[in-house]
Symmetry: C2
Subunit: 194 residues, 2 copies
């Protein structure tokens, strides 16, 4: 997505540890108008008329996934990081290692909110090594739900997570911008057909 | 908001510790269509044409605040709970005690994203004792920004947080449903003019 690449180049910064900071439009101060364009772009790749929910993980994926769900007219479901005792009944659980926080967290989702009749689109803001999305996929499988696809706003291609999903049979995976290398503040994007 | 009260009564549950569980439409599985009506209702109380951002706190306030920001055509800003080392530069910080998690957390917001020229509407899903919103108000003051008001979806009136804001001079505070007492599974709502 050309406009997204331009926005990453003009507003993004590279921090030590190959961390790409785009929190001025994606995940701290959130440009809701721009995220409409992101939602429109995902619509080109996924059959959003045929999904029952958008699924993401707490916390930074929630804004973009909320706008996608809102614009597609379906509920947003977000997996929580285990810590609250507010969730009764059965839970789907998946342990994932968080790259950002450098520790293992357990994603949880109440069994009440996802089941075999659901068809979900997973949306997240970032793909690094793919652990969070693997956890979400694990939860979709536990629920017996079906997957429409996985849509990522920014993929850090050099960390390999996205390519693992591209190789998975029967999984539609699209990232709107793939950063294949970082050299100082210089980012190089992977070229592909939109 | 009559429709909200009906939804709380028909879909909500009371858990031990006076916890009101409405995670089927507000903060786990999120009913994006219903939240449009919530955003419309806040519009009756606040001059949303005159704000520069909607502000909330991670994580459960993000869906409703995102839909409000989206529908009002302004950015969403969410304060994070301190834990990531992804945030460089200066930060606004406010320590708050979380009722849900029974511990003190530090809300942080990068100084880049809020300043004296901003006029913000604070939106959150729940008001219990009001600590999280006090933290957000503290951050608004640190930034020198001005406050349009505070909009809460569900207030637990018996915990007193909302009344503290109602008594504050110069602060517009509105909750769309105020639960004044809980007896078993029976909830009693405060009556007020819409």
């Amino acid at each position: 997505m050309k406009l997204l690449e331009e926005k990453i180049l003009s507003e993004g910064k590279v921090l030590p540890g190959s961390i790409i900071k785009v929190d001025g439009f994606l995940n701290h101060r959130v440009d809701t108008k721009f995220l409409n364009l992101v939602a429109d772009q995902f619509k080109k790749y996924f059959d959003v008329g045929n999904i029952t929910a958008v699924l993401t993980a707490e916390a930074s994926g929630i804004p973009v996934a909320t706008i996608c769900a809102h614009n597609y007219g379906v509920p947003l479901i977000f997996a929580k990081k285990a810590k609250s005792d507010n969730i009764e009944n059965g839970l789907y659980k998946s342990e994932v290692f968080s790259y950002t926080y450098r520790k293992t967290v357990t994603l949880i989702l109440s069994k009440e909110w996802l089941g075999p009749n659901d068809r979900v689109l997973i949306i997240d803001d970032f793909m690094a090594n793919g652990n969070a999305v693997h956890g979400l996929l694990d939860i979709v499988n536990q629920a017996g739900a079906s997957l429409e696809g996985i849509g990522i706003v920014i993929e850090k291609g050099f960390q390999g997570g996205g390519d693992k999903f591209r190789e998975m049979k029967g999984v539609k995976y699209r990232a709107l911008a793939v950063i294949d290398s970082i050299d100082g503040q210089k980012m190089t994007f992977r070229k592909f057909d939109e």
